[in-house]
C-alpha cells in the first residue's frame, strides 16, 4: 500500500490504500461529530462556516474555524514536505512517516479524551484542531502517493467523479473501457469504506467513548505493518533466491562471461514472462 509510488502502483494497491484510509477517515469524522459537534475529515463545511461566522460577526468562531482550516492545511503541507525532504530514504519509510505521525496524534487524542477530557470549549477546540491536522496529513499522503487517484476525505469530489463516471458507464461507447471501470471500482470502494467507517466509528464511540481513536490507530497500523511485512518477506526471499545471489555476484564482478550471458537471459525472461 505504501511502498509503491504513483505510476508503479496497481489498482490493487490503490484499492487497499483507499479501503483502509477511508475507513479511518470515516471513523474519525463521525466520532468527532458525536464528541465535539464538529466535522474533522472535510473542510468544505468549515469554509462555508468560516464565511458565515464572518458575516454574523462572531469573531471568536471566526478565529477558531480559521485555525481549524489552517491545521488541515498544515497537515497536508507537512505530509508532502516529509515526502519531498526525505528523498534519500526508501519509499516505504518516507511514506510511512506521515502515517506514524498521524497514529501518534490520534493516540494522544484518544488517551487525553478517555482520561482527562472535561468537555470544556477550549479542550474541544484543541482536540478538533488535532484531528483536522491528522486528516490533513492522511489526505495529502494518499493523494500524493496515488498520483491523485485516492482522496479519502474528499467526498464532494468523489461524488462528482462518481456521477461523471456512472454517466459514462451507461453510455455503450465507454462500457468496456478498463480505465473507467477501474476508476468506478476505486471510487465505490472509497465511498463504501468511508460510510462503513462512519458507522463503525459512531457505534464504537457510543459504546467505548474516546477509545474509538485507538481503533483508528489499529487500522492505520495495519497499513504500516502490511507493507513492512511485505518488505521483510521480499528481503528474505531475495536472500534465499539463487537468481538474486547471482545478481549480487555479477555486480561485484565475480562472474565469468558464460555465467554473465546465462544470467542476462534469465533477467530478460523474468522481465518479460
Amino acid at each position: 500500500m505504501l511502498r509503491k509510488y504513483r505510476s508503479q502502483r496497481s489498482l490493487k494497491h490503490n484499492l487497499q490504500l483507499a479501503g483502509t484510509t477511508a475507513t479511518a477517515a470515516g471513523m474519525v469524522n463521525v466520532a468527532s461529530v458525536i464528541a465535539f459537534f464538529a466535522f474533522t475529515s472535510n473542510v468544505t463545511g468549515h469554509m462555508a462556516i468560516f464565511s458565515e461566522e464572518i458575516v454574523k460577526g462572531h469573531w471568536h468562531q471566526v478565529i477558531i474555524v480559521f485555525l481549524w482550516l489552517f491545521a488541515f492545511l498544515f497537515g497536508a503541507f507537512l505530509s508532502n514536505y516529509i515526502l519531498l525532504t526525505f528523498d534519500k530514504f526508501n519509499d516505504y519509510l518516507r511514506h510511512a512517516l506521515p502515517v506514524i505521525l498521524e497514529v501518534l496524534v490520534l493516540a494522544v487524542i484518544g488517551f487525553y479524551g478517555d482520561l482527562y477530557y472535561m468537555e470544556t470549549l477550549r479542550e474541544t477546540e484543541y482536540l478538533v484542531l488535532g484531528l483536522l491536522f491528522a486528516m490533513g496529513l492522511q489526505n495529502s499522503l494518499v493523494a500524493t502517493i496515488s498520483g491523485g487517484a485516492v482522496k479519502t476525505t474528499h467526498v464532494t469530489g468523489l461524488f462528482t467523479d462518481l456521477g461523471m463516471e456512472i454517466s459514462m458507464y451507461l453510455n455503450p461507447k465507454f462500457r468496456t473501457n478498463k480505465e473507467l471501470i477501474d476508476k468506478l471500482r476505486l471510487h465505490f470502494v472509497i465511498a463504501g469504506f468511508y460510510f462503513s467507517g462512519g458507522l463503525l466509528g459512531g457505534f464504537l464511540f457510543l459504546q467505548f467513548g474516546f477509545k474509538v481513536f485507538y481503533a483508528v490507530c489499529i487500522v492505520l497500523l495495519v497499513v504500516l505493518l502490511y507493507d513492512y511485512y511485505k518488505l521483510i518477506k521480499y528481503k528474505f526471499l531475495r536472500k534465499s533466491d539463487t537468481y538474486y545471489k547471482n545478481l549480487i555476484l555479477l555486480k561485484k564482478g565475480q562472474k565469468t562471461p558464460k555465467e554473465k550471458k546465462k544470467l542476462a537471459e534469465e533477467i530478460i525472461k523474468r522481465r518479460n514472462p
Binding site: F36, I49, K56, Q61, I63, I64, L121
Partner: protein, 152 residues
C-alpha cells in the same frame, strides 16, 4: 511575503485573538426568557405531534423535549446552570457545556438526560437558542433571551 510581513500578520492575529470574548465567558450571568417561537408543523396525524400552549409541536420519539417553565436562566462560571422562576425560586439545577466552536449548548441534567441547543446568537445583551435535533436540521423551537442587568 517577507519575514516582516509574517510578523505583522501574526501580531494582528494575536491582537484580534486577545480582543475577542470567548463564548464561555460571554454566556455567564442571568438571562431572561423573552420569547418562544415554534417551528411550523404541517402534520395531521395525532401520533406525530402534541399540543403545547395551543401550538402543534412535533414529537421526536428519541428525545423528550423539556418544556421550560423557567423565566431566568443563570449560567455560573463553575459550569452549573440554574433555571429559576421570575421570583428567583430555583426550579432545576444542571450542568452547562459549550461544544463545537461554541455553537452548541448542552444542558445535562444527569448522565442520560440532556438537551442540545444551537447557539444562533450570543452577544453582551442577547442570546438566541434553537432547540437542536441534528447537525443540519433547523431547530423546532427558538428561544430568545435578554441579559438580566438588574441582577448584576
Amino acid at each position: 511575503m517577507r519575514s516582516g510581513q509574517y510578523t505583522l500578520f501574526l501580531l494582528v492575529f494575536l491582537f484580534i485573538t486577545s480582543c475577542v470574548t470567548r463564548p464561555e465567558d460571554l454566556i455567564i450571568g442571568d438571562w431572561n426568557e423573552v420569547e418562544w417561537d415554534y417551528e411550523k408543523f404541517d402534520g395531521f396525524s395525532p401520533k406525530d405531534f402534541k399540543k403545547i400552549d395551543g401550538i402543534n409541536l412535533r414529537n421526536y420519539s428519541d428525545r423528550n423535549l423539556i418544556r421550560h417553565e423557567a423565566e431566568i436562566w443563570t449560567f455560573h462560571p463553575d459550569g452549573t446552570i440554574e433555571l429559576k422562576e421570575d421570583n428567583g425560586e430555583v426550579i432545576t439545577k444542571a450542568r452547562w457545556l459549550l461544544k463545537g466552536r461554541g455553537h452548541i449548548l448542552k444542558i445535562r441534567y444527569d448522565e442520560k438526560t440532556f438537551e442540545l441547543y444551537d447557539v444562533k446568537r450570543l452577544t453582551e445583551d442577547e442570546m438566541t437558542l434553537h432547540y437542536d435535533i441534528g447537525m443540519e436540521v433547523r431547530g423546532i423551537a427558538k428561544l430568545g433571551f435578554e441579559r438580566n442587568k438588574k441582577e448584576e
